[in-house]
C-alpha cells in the first residue's frame, strides 16, 4: 500500500465539525421520530445515517458525532456501522449516484459494456464523481431486476433494459439538470439527498407515482390470462367451471375475440388438452395478439 502524500486541506475542504443550532434542532426532531419507531433506540442508527446523508450528502464526521450523541454511542461505534454498508458514503457524493449492475447476469447481457462506456464518457471510475459534482459512478451488485437486464440504478430508482447509449444519455441529462424518468419508479429521479431522506423513513409524497409493474414483471400474469390458466378457485368462491380463470380475473364478460373470450374455455375433456388442440389454441392466441 502506498503512503498517501500529506496535503494540507484548503478552505472548504475541511470537514465541518458541527451543525448550527437551527439545523441541529431540525435533525433532532427527525431523529426523535425515527427513534420512536423502535422498541430499542439503537435500531434507529441505520435510518439516522441515511438522515445524515440527506443533510450532508455523505456520512460526515459531524453526522457521526450527531448519531453518537443522540443514541448514546461512541463515534467509533457509529463509524464501525457506517463503514460496513455500501450505501453510506465516506466522502461527499454527487447529486446522483449512477450504479451499473456488473454482477454476472447483467454483466453478460451488456452491463460490462455499459460500464466501460460510462467510464470513458465521463472520465471517472468506480465511486468517483464528475468534476461538476453531479454524477457519482458505481459498479453495483445484483439489484433484483434481472428480468430487465442490463439494469442501471440512478439514486436507487430502476432504469431497465439499458444500452451504453441510453445510459450515457441519462448521465448527460443529469449533468445538464434535465429531468430523468425511471422505468419503474417515481415520476422523476430525485437528488441523492432527497432520496436519502426517504430511506430514513420520511415519505416524499411520490409513492403513488409511476407504474405498478413493468412488462417483464407481468409476463406470467398476462400469459396465464390469455391461456385461461389460473390457480384453483378458493373453496366457496364462484367456481368458473373448473379452473376459476374467469373468476380470478375479476373482469366483466369479454367480447368475442378479446382476451378470455370463448377460446379460453377451460379444459373439460381429454381432447381439449391434446397436443393438437394446444397447438390450435396457441395459434388462435397468437393471431389475436397481432
Amino acid at each position: 500500500m502506498s503512503v498517501e502524500e500529506l496535503v494540507p486541506r484548503g478552505e472548504g475542504q475541511a470537514h465541518r465539525t458541527a451543525y448550527d443550532d437551527e439545523t441541529r434542532a431540525r435533525l433532532a426532531a427527525d431523529a426523535a421520530q425515527i427513534v420512536a419507531r423502535y422498541p430499542q433506540e439503537r435500531s434507529a442508527l441505520l435510518p439516522m445515517l441515511h438522515l445524515v446523508q440527506a443533510e450532508d450528502g455523505y456520512v460526515s464526521p459531524r453526522g457521526i458525532a450527531f448519531c453518537a450523541a443522540t443514541l448514546g454511542l461512541t463515534t467509533a461505534e457509529v463509524s464501525a456501522v457506517a463503514t460496513f454498508y455500501t450505501q453510506y458514503k465516506r466522502h461527499p457524493n454527487g447529486d446522483y449516484t449512477v450504479g451499473v449492475c456488473t454482477n454476472t447476469l447483467c454483466a453478460v447481457m451488456g452491463g460490462d459494456a455499459i460500464w466501460e462506456h460510462l467510464c470513458e464518457h465521463t472520465g471517472v471510475g468506480h465511486d468517483e464523481t464528475t468534476p461538476d459534482g453531479k454524477v457519482t459512478l458505481e459498479r453495483v451488485e445484483c439489484n433484483a431486476a434481472c428480468d430487465y437486464a442490463p439494469v442501471v440504478m440512478v439514486n436507487w430508482e430502476f432504469l431497465d433494459n439499458q444500452t451504453p447509449q441510453s445510459a450515457a444519455a441519462v448521465v448527460d441529462a443529469l449533468r445538464a439538470g434535465e429531468k430523468v424518468v425511471p422505468t419503474r419508479g417515481a415520476d422523476e429521479v430525485v437528488t441523492f439527498k432527497e432520496m436519502s431522506r426517504v430511506l430514513a423513513g420520511f415519505l416524499d409524497g411520490r409513492a403513488d407515482e409511476g407504474v405498478g409493474a413493468g412488462e417483464a414483471t407481468v409476463r406470467g400474469t398476462v400469459l396465464a390470462r390469455e391461456k385461461g390458466w389460473s390457480a384453483p378457485a378458493f373453496p366457496g368462491d364462484e367456481p368458473a367451471t373448473g379452473t376459476g380463470a374467469q373468476a380470478a380475473a375479476g373482469a366483466a364478460v369479454p367480447r368475442p375475440g378479446d382476451e378470455q373470450s370463448s377460446a379460453e374455455r377451460p379444459a373439460t375433456t381429454a381432447r381439449d388438452v391434446s397436443p393438437e388442440q394446444q397447438e390450435r389454441k396457441q395459434a388462435a392466441s397468437d393471431a389475436k395478439e397481432q
Partner: protein
C-alpha cells in the same frame, strides 16, 4: 398434462394502480385477515403447517414449523421480522411483488403476527430500492387508516405495530441473524446458532424471520385452506411459487406456477432461448445454488427433485445463459461478488473468497496454472461446511458445479483468455465493440 401457470400473488399485478389498498380489496384482499381474527392463533399455525408451505427465501424450511418453534408465551414481546433484503444474484421476485402489490405482504404480516402472538412486526427491505420502500411505507399508512394495523384491529382486541426499515446495502443481511443484528443498529454479521431466532432473536426475544413471498402466501392459505394450497405443487413441495426467468431467454419475467414445473415448460412459455441459440447453463435458485445444464431441463423444480439432481431450489431464480457465454467469466464475477459481500467475520469465507477470486481472475485472463483446478476444489473443500453462515457455502456452489460440467473451460483458462474463447459482445443484448478485454476488467471490483 403439462403444468400451467397458477397466479395467486401475481394475479393482479397488471391492474390499474395495483399497489393501492383500493385495488387490493377490490380483488378480495383482507378477506384472509377477517377470517384469521375469528380463529384461534394455534389453529392458524396448524393450518399453515398442514398446507406444507416451505420458506420461499431459499432454504425451504417449513414455515408453520418455524412458527411452532417459538417457546410458550412468557408475557414478554415476540417479534415477526420479514426478510425483504432480496439480494441473491438472479433473484427478482420479492422486489416486484412489493412494488406491485405491497398489501399482499402487509396482510400476511398481520395474520402471521396474530398467529405467533407478536405485537410489533418489522419489514427489513434492502435500501437500494427507494420506490419499493415508498410503496411499503404508503401501504402501511393505508393499512393503519383502515384499522388493519394499530390498536384493536377490526374490533378484535388485537394490537399490532408495523415498522418498515430500510437497510443500507449489504448482501449478508439476507442471512437471518445478520439481518437481526443490522436491525438492532449493528454491523450486519451473522450470529452463532444456537440460540436460534425462535428462542433469542431480535432484542434477544423469540422471533420469527420469514421471507416476503412466504408471508405473502399466508392470506391465500387462510382463505382457501390447507387443502386448496396443496392442490398445487408436489406432495412435499406444495403450493405456488414465483419463478424468475432472466438472461438469454426471449421473454424474461416472473412466472408464478405450482412447484414442480420444469424449466422446459417455463422456457416454452417464455418464448424459448434468445434467437434460438442453445442453452448452456442455468441456476435453479440464484448464484448460490450449483448450476445446471441442458441435461436438467426436465428436472421438476421442487425442493426434492432439484436436490436429488445435485442443486437446490433456492429462490427459483432461473438465470439462463446460452452457448455464447463463458462459464469461467460468469463464475469469476460471482466469486468477486461473494468476496465483496463476505462480512469478514469468519476466516474460511473471508480468506477463501479472496483466494478463489484471485485464481478465477487468472483463469479468466488465460493465465491459470495446471494446479489451479485442484486448488479451487481444495479451497472450496475448506470453505464448504466450515464457514460461519451460508454465504461461504454458497460461494463454493458455482465453482464446484462449473468445474463438474465444464472442466475443459477451466483447463483452457491455462492458456486462452475467456474473452477470446467467448467474445463478450456475442452474449450482450446489443451490438458493441469491446474497448478493452474482459481480462483487464476482471478484478476491478475489489
Amino acid at each position: 398434462m403439462a403444468t400451467t401457470l397458477a397466479p395467486v400473488l401475481s394475479a393482479h399485478w397488471d391492474a390499474e394502480r395495483s399497489w393501492t389498498m383500493e385495488t387490493y380489496e377490490a380483488h378480495g384482499g383482507y378477506r384472509g385477515l377477517r377470517r384469521a381474527l375469528d380463529m384461534q392463533p394455534a389453529d392458524l399455525v396448524t393450518m399453515v403447517k398442514d398446507s406444507g408451505l416451505r420458506g420461499r427465501g431459499g432454504a425451504g424450511f417449513p414455515t408453520g414449523m418455524k412458527w411452532g418453534f417459538l417457546p410458550a408465551p412468557d408475557g414478554g414481546p415476540r417479534y415477526l421480522v420479514v426478510n425483504a433484503d432480496e439480494s441473491e444474484p438472479g433473484t427478482c421476485k420479492d422486489i416486484p411483488l412489493m412494488m406491485a402489490s405491497p398489501q399482499h405482504l402487509i396482510e400476511g404480516v398481520i395474520i402471521t403476527s396474530f398467529a405467533i402472538g407478536c405485537h410489533h412486526a418489522f419489514i427489513y427491505v434492502r435500501g437500494e430500492v427507494v420506490h419499493v420502500y415508498r410503496r411499503l411505507l404508503r401501504a402501511v399508512e393505508e393499512a393503519y387508516a383502515k384499522g388493519y394495523l394499530g390498536k384493536d384491529i377490526l374490533g378484535s382486541g388485537y394490537d399490532l405495530e408495523l415498522t418498515v426499515h430500510a437497510g443500507a446495502g449489504a448482501y449478508i443481511c439476507g442471512e437471518e441473524t445478520a439481518l437481526l443484528d443490522s436491525l438492532e443498529g449493528l454491523r450486519g454479521q451473522p450470529r452463532l446458532k444456537p440460540p436460534f431466532p425462535a428462542v433469542a432473536g431480535l432484542y434477544a426475544r423469540p422471533t420469527v424471520v420469514n421471507n416476503v413471498e412466504s408471508v405473502a402466501s399466508v392470506p391465500g392459505i387462510v382463505v382457501g385452506g390447507a387443502d386448496w394450497f396443496k392442490q398445487m405443487g408436489t406432495e412435499r413441495s406444495t403450493g405456488h411459487g414465483l419463478f424468475s426467468l432472466s438472461g438469454h431467454v426471449t421473454r424474461p419475467g416472473q412466472y408464478e406456477a405450482p412447484l414442480g414445473i420444469t424449466l422446459r415448460e417455463l422456457l416454452d412459455m417464455a418464448g424459448g432461448m434468445r434467437g434460438g441459440r442453445a442453452l448452456k447453463f442455468w441456476t435453479p435458485g440464484g448464484s448460490s445454488t450449483p448450476i445446471f445444464t441442458a441435461e436438467h431441463l426436465d428436472v421438476p423444480l421442487d425442493y426434492e427433485s432439484v436436490g436429488a439432481a445435485g442443486s437446490m431450489l433456492g429462490t427459483r431464480a432461473l438465470q439462463i445463459f446460452d452457448e455464447t457465454t463463458s462459464v469461467v467469466r460468469a463464475v469469476t464475477r460471482w466469486i468477486e461478488f461473494y468476496k465483496h459481500e463476505s462480512c469478514g467475520k469468519c476466516t474460511p469465507c473471508r480468506e477463501g473468497t479472496f483466494w478463489l477470486a484471485q485464481i478465477m481472475q487468472r483463469l479468466e485472463r488465460g493465465q491459470g496454472t495446471a494446479a489451479d483446478i485442484d486448488l479451487l476444489l481444495d479451497l472450496c473443500d475448506n470453505i464448504l461446511g466450515r464457514a460461519f453462515c451460508a454465504l461461504g457455502d454458497g460461494a463454493t456452489s458455482p465453482v464446484t458445479s462449473a468445474i463438474q460440467y465444464f472442466r475443459e473451460e477451466f483447463e483452457a483458462g491455462c492458456h486462452t483468455p475467456a474473452d477470446v474463447l467467448f467474445p463478450p459482445e456475442r452474449s450482450a443484448l446489443f451490438d458493441y465493440t469491446p474497448r478493452r478485454t474482459g481480462a483487464a476488467l476482471a478484478g476491478v471490483h475489489a
